[in-house]
Each structure stands twice: as structure tokens, then as C-alpha cells.
Symmetry: C2
Subunit: 424 residues, 2 copies
């Protein structure tokens, strides 16, 4: 039994009922969109969390990545990052740990937050391989599936699996002149494995088995874009679009087998290409929710990729993307600090809200209208409450003492709103 | 003699020659675009600066606002802000001082930086009125023109003048249900003045005199959008578009009189409305450069309006805007600190670069390609040099010591690029 199988029967689940109320969408419409695969509800049957709907007609959702690397491993820090991200409005958390203790990390993180948790199981399989003193390219395909099964039993709600990379696409990438090659870690693991072993990607070859495991625990598949572009000039190239086409075939198969599925997307991409990429994903992938990693609209801003990602994310979500993976200021440079996590979530929440009002979402507009009213009335407390970050604007506003509340230190006495209020 | 009058004669000025080289545009094409009013070169004949071209076929430019308010007045701080903004890539500086000593401020700031300086003369006229113990609504229209003339003689390169507000538009704004009313300071000064005195806006009524003064010193007019929307639901309303239409008439008159002119635009605006607003300005305003204040694509992010502005600015510049006014994290709350100025300039530079590559600008693409190459080669020093902020990424990268240079602490040993390099 999965959310998808129930929706196909016209049967509302408690999760659908919760989302219907929360997002102010009729239960019948929600059931219909889940049944078509246009909305997913990543919620493993073995885990108890607040359910979150991702897809058409719902507000744009935000994911925050946390997790150790083999250079930095601090369990308390990662748990605090997860909690902070949720406090600032992240809808889901992905644990991308690759440190030696990643298994312990995942369990603790799943206990610490009450939102859907995603993982990339190939990381655990890879780390286990290295822990055995072997190389990634010597990874055993049984290990991969055992990892997926264990994580599904533990309650992981959604998994990134790079099922779309195969011998053909690896061959294509070797023949085209990609500047940056492969920049997805999972994609790179698998492409190296395919090249070295001259065998097919186990996740591609044994996709049916993945569907079985996913169905059993209602794990939502997040089909990874292992060949996403890693710099502006690689965007929308043959390798990227070939993988998307292959993913489209896999999406349909998942949906037919009652497995919830979404698709991951770019990446580094000039903003003029975003619209067509979003439209293409929707047609090729049968309306499945699109989960984008950015897009980052310039590569010249290391240290500020939360901003390059917010620009791309806002446009993407306006053009059809449903789920934004946050990017922090630390991207491309190091693991994010707590402050970076906060900045990353806020930037993505801004992008999501901007897209939601552009798409006419009523609940998003209601907040804008309340903010306009609060500004007009100089109701600062209300403004702080409505703000995505409730603390920073309060701090800024209160830096400079003022004679009365009907102004701020930016314009002082010459406040246009105050002047207008007294003269119109 | 103005840049425009010379261009109409087919006569290249030294400023045009400098810009032609710097922006890699043929001198003939540049002359032609200046002669049509599609490019302006704000450079007062009384001031010696590096000239900057703004408009069609050129890279998107960024302005940084600095200046005192009557709550915070610190000349050294404002000079440091101006210098810092230029260091981070601001192409022009606007001095928006409204503190009692604003005259001294402007002179010092003009001495401190070597880029085009803009002002809003009505602020000085307003402050002088208040200094005399009178109210803004009692401002003397002669004072306004004396201020404009003095500033033009001093060497101010471009001036925001709210010539488009008139009795008719003030009447329209009173009759429509605008949530936020007027949020432009200059707009609010003039609308209050018109309402109170039941007289026409002196800047509208005596526009010919403004053209004379501007022509004499080759001051570029920046026609202010006093009625720009101040919240999302006011965007693209009757008052805003009426003012734009009125500005269109004034643009044509300026161009006919050999006065360089650009137009200021919104403001608070949902991102789906940006494209049509940009296109409309270009048709109504005879191709004159568009100088946008944002647009801010959501109002829910006080403390982060550099990000809401970067999203709107990138889309605007992609759709035709030529000149982005930065927005800092302090917007709506207080005057920016040095750190806020830096954040604001960087966010706008990101938006400008993202738009420039989306528009196919070769010089912008060259930088992206160099960055991709540097990333692929793990040439960190080159990456830092190419970055919009050369310091922050260096600091992030060096936080965690690493065994070799072919990785960062984010992915550690599992770097996709490194793995790809060794296995393909």
C-alpha cells in the first residue's frame, strides 16, 4: 500500500487529509493529482512525521541538505543544522553524510526532526566499500541493494537513486565536449563504476527490484540527475537531456507500479534556459514533481550561491518546479556552518514565496497582503512576525533609537508613507 | 554640447571611445545607439570621471545608494561606503543624503570616487526648507530650481527628477485603492506639495527649464517613478502605468532637445509581471535606458531584500532593464552598514552577470568559461580572482585544512570532479 495506490482507488489517506487542510486544496483534487503522479507525499510507512505534499497546485517546497563529509564529522552540529533548517521553514531534510559514521548520523537525525528525510544510499554503499579498504569502482552491487533495503526499513522517506545513468549515456558523455564532466557525486560513482567494470549500472539494470523495495515501504523515488551540468556552458547539453529522456521512461514505470516518484534537475544553467527545461521535464516525465538543485544562474559567485540559486529557483518554481533544494553560501567550498544553513534556507524560502505569488497561490498572496497592511500601519511587530526571518529585521530596526514608531532610520522624518498618511 | 548632440552629428567623444574599447562594441554602433537615446553616458561636463555607458548592447550596470539620513549622519562612514561599493563593482553612486549637512557630504563624496554620481535634488530642496523652519509642503519652487542648477554646476552626473507626477496622477492615486499609497520619497514630497498648494508640480510645469539646465552641463536626467508600487498588490496599477505614460512624453522631449535621459522603474512587483513592465517601458519611452529599483519579488523578506531584489533584477535585466539600483539587507529598516553595502552590491552584480549571460553578452560568457576551466583544474587561486567577491570564497575554502588541493571540505575524497578526472 502506497499513497499512490490508495489515490488510484480514490481512497484518501490520513496524510492526504492533513495536506488537504494545510494547503487549502480540496481532498478530491488532491487525490486526483496524487493518483496521476503529479503530487508525491514522501512518507515511509515505518516512520511517523508531518506529511508534506510536493507537486502541482501546492506551495513550492524547500529541502535542506545536511550531513558529514569525511573531512568534517560532528554529530551535534549536523543535528543542530537539521533543527535550525526546519525552524526556518525547510520542508524536508536530506542527510548527505559521507563520513565514516554516517549510519549513526542518519538514525540520530531521523529522531531529531519531524519532517520527511531523504538520503542518497549510494553514499553509504560507497563509504562501506572504502571502509573495507576497497575503491568506489570495486563497489559490490549487492551492497547497494542491501543499503537501499536497510534504509527503507529504517524509515527513510525519499531516496535519490541515479537510475538514469547507463552505458549509453556514459558513452555519450565521453564523446561530447563537456567542460566540467560529471559533478554529481552519485553520478560520478556510478559512471566510474560502469566504465571500469564494463557493466551496466545496477540501479538501471535492476530497476524492478528498486520498485519492489520502494513499494513495500512507500519510499518516494527521487530519480537523480547524475549528468546535471556543472557549469554554465554545459547546460541543456546532450548528456543532460539524454538522461532526462531515460528518466522519463523510468518515471512511467514507477507510476504504473504504484511507486511515488519525482525527478531531480539542474544544476548550473543560464536563466534563459530554465523555462524550457522545466516544461520539458513535465512533458517527458509525465507530470512528475520536479526537484531542482538551484539552478545556479552564474558561476562567478562562490560564497554567494544561495543568491545565484535563489534567482534560478524562483524562475524554476514559477515555470513548473515543485521542490527547491537549498544552496548555501558554502557550496563549492566547504560544508555549511549553522549560519550558512540559515542563509540557504531563507534564500530558498524567498524563491519559493516569489514563485508562489507569481503563480497566483492564494495562501502566498494572503501573507503579502498582510505585510503590506502592516507596513502601511507601521505595525513593526506584525512585520517581524510575517517575515521569513523573524529576528534579523527586528535587530536592524532597533539598531537606531527613534522619536516615534512611524518611521525607520533609513528615511527618518522623510518617510514617504508617513508623509502620505498625513497629507492625503 | 552633450554626448547626445555629438552622437547625432556622428561625432565620437573621448567618453564614447573609452566605452567602445571597454565594452568591446564598435564605435559606430555605440554612436548610433547614443544618438537614438538607447544608451546614455552620465557625465557632467564639469566633472572628471571614468565614463560609464548604460543601455542597449552594453553590460548591465549597478548603482549603489549611500548618504546620511536625519537620524544617522557620519561623513567618513558614507565615504567608506561609496569607496567599498566601487571596489566591489558598483558602476555609479547615488548620494541620497537627507541629513542637515548634505551639501558638504555630496562634495566630499564626489571627490572620493571616480564614477558617475547621481542625486535627487528635491531632497536638498526639502532639507533646506525644513532647515528654515518650514514644512515640505511649503517648499518654494524657486528653491528647487536653484538646487538643480547648483548641483549641475558642481558636477552631478545624473539627477533623479520626479517630473512625471502631476495634478492628474495625484488625483488618480487618490481615487484608486492603492494599498501602500506613495513610497517614493521624492514622489511623496511632490504629491503632498501638489495636493496642499493646489498647484501643478514645478518639475512638470517647468520641464523646459530643466532641459535647458541639463543640456548646459550634460546632466543625464533620470526621470523618477514617484508612483512606483510599494507592495506586491499595487504592482502595475493605474497610477504606476499612468506615470510611465507621462514619462514617455517627457523622454521624447528630452531626446529631441539633446538631453540624455533614462527612466526609473519599479519597485515591488511579482516576478510574472516583470517582463511586460520592461517591454512596456521600452515602447513607451522610446528605447530609453531603464533603471530599476529592484524589482522586489516578495515583501516577506525584510533583512534580505538584497536577495528579493537580485531575483527581480536578474529577470528585469534579462527582459530589457539596463541599470540596477542595488538594494541592501537594511532596506525598509535602517541605513545600510558597510557590510550591508557590500552585500547589496554583490547581489546586484550577480543579477547583472546572470542577465548578461542569458542575453548572450560575450564578455560575460568569457568569465563563466574561465571559471568553469578553473574549477575543472582545481585552480583555486584563479577561482578566487574571477569571483565577484575575491575574499569570502578564499576564507571558506581555507577554513578546513586538506590533504591535497584537488578537493574541498564539502565532498572531501568523494569529489565528483576528482573521481571523474581519475577514471575517464
Amino acid at each position: 500500500m502506497t499513497q499512490l495506490s490508495e489515490a488510484k482507488k480514490g481512497q484518501p489517506t490520513p496524510e492526504m487529509q492533513y495536506i488537504s487542510k494545510k494547503e487549502n486544496i480540496s481532498i478530491n483534487k488532491l487525490i486526483s493529482l496524487v493518483s496521476e503522479g503529479k503530487i508525491v507525499i514522501p512518507k515511509n510507512i515505518n516512520r511517523d512525521t508531518y506529511p508534506c505534499g510536493i507537486g502541482e497546485n501546492l506551495s513550492t517546497k524547500v529541502n535542506a541538505n545536511i550531513g558529514s563529509s569525511n573531512k568534517i564529522e560532528d554529530i551535534n552540529l549536523e543535528i543542530n543544522k537539521a533543527k535550525l533548517a526546519v525552524d526556518y521553514g525547510a520542508d524536508t531534510i536530506m542527510d548527505l553524510s559521507t563520513g565514516p559514521d554516517l549510519n549513526k548520523f542518519r538514525k540520530k537525525i531521523m529522531e531529531s526532526v519531524n519532517v520527511a528525510i531523504g538520503t542518497v544510499p549510494i553514499y553509504e554503499a560507497g563509504v562501506n566499500t572504502l571502509n573495507k579498504g576497497k575503491k568506489i569502482i570495486d563497489m559490490d552491487s549487492d551492497d547497494i541493494f542491501k543499503t537501499i533495503e536497510n534504509q527503507a526499513r529504517e524509515g527513510v522517506d525519499f531516496m535519490t537513486l541515479h537510475c538514469g545513468i547507463n552505458k549509453q549515456t556514459v558513452d555519450k558523455i565521453n564523446k561530447t565536449n563537456r567542460k566540467m564532466g560529471i559533478v554529481s557525486r552519485g553520478g560520478s560513482f556510478l559512471a566510474s563504476w560502469i566504465s571500469h567494470n564494463e557493466q551496466e549500472n545496477p540501479l538501471y539494470e535492476n530497476y524492478d527490484y528498486i520498485l519492489e523495495l520502494s513499494y513495500e515501504h512507500d519510499v518516494t523515488l527521487s530519480l537523480g540527475d547524475g549528468l546535471r551540468p556543472g557549469c554554465q556552458s554545459d547546460a541543456s547539453d546532450i548528456a543532460q537531456i539524454q538522461e532526462l529522456v531515460d528518466l522519463g521512461v523510468l518515471v512511467k514505470k514507477a507510476q504504473e507500479n504504484n511507486v511515488q516518484v519525482m525527478v531531480e534537475g539542474p544544476g548550473h544553467m543560464p536563466l534563459n534556459q530554465i523555462k524550457s527545461n522545466m516544461e520539458l521535464q513535465k512533458t517527458i516525465c509525465n507530470g512528475a514533481p520536479f526537484y531542482v538543485l538551484g539552478p545556479l544562474v552564474t558561476d562567478l559567485a562562490p560564497g554567494y550561491d544561495h543568491i545565484t540559486g535563489a534567482i534560478g529557483g524562483a524562475i524554476a518554481a514559477f515555470c513548473g518546479a515543485d521542490f527547491l533544494c537549498y544552496v548555501t553560501p558554502a557550496e563549492h567550498l566547504t560544508l555549511p556552518s549553522l549560519e550558512d544553513v540559515k542563509e540557504g534556507v531563507i534564500a530558498s524560502k524567498i524563491a519559493a514565496q516569489a514563485a508562489d505569488i507569481a503563480n497566483g497561490l492564494k495562501s502566498a498572496w494572503a501573507k503579502e497582503d498582510e505585510m503590506g497592511e502592516a507596513r502601511k500601519n507601521f505595525d513593526w511587530e506584525k512585520q517581524f512576525q510575517l517575515a521569513i526571518d523573524k529576528y534579523k529585521p527586528r535587530f536592524y530596526k532597533n539598531q537606531c533609537p527613534l522619536d516615534d514608531d512611524e518611521m525607520c532610520a533609513m528615511c527618518g522624518e522623510y518617510c514617504a508613507v508617513k508623509l502620505g498618511k498625513n497629507n492625503f
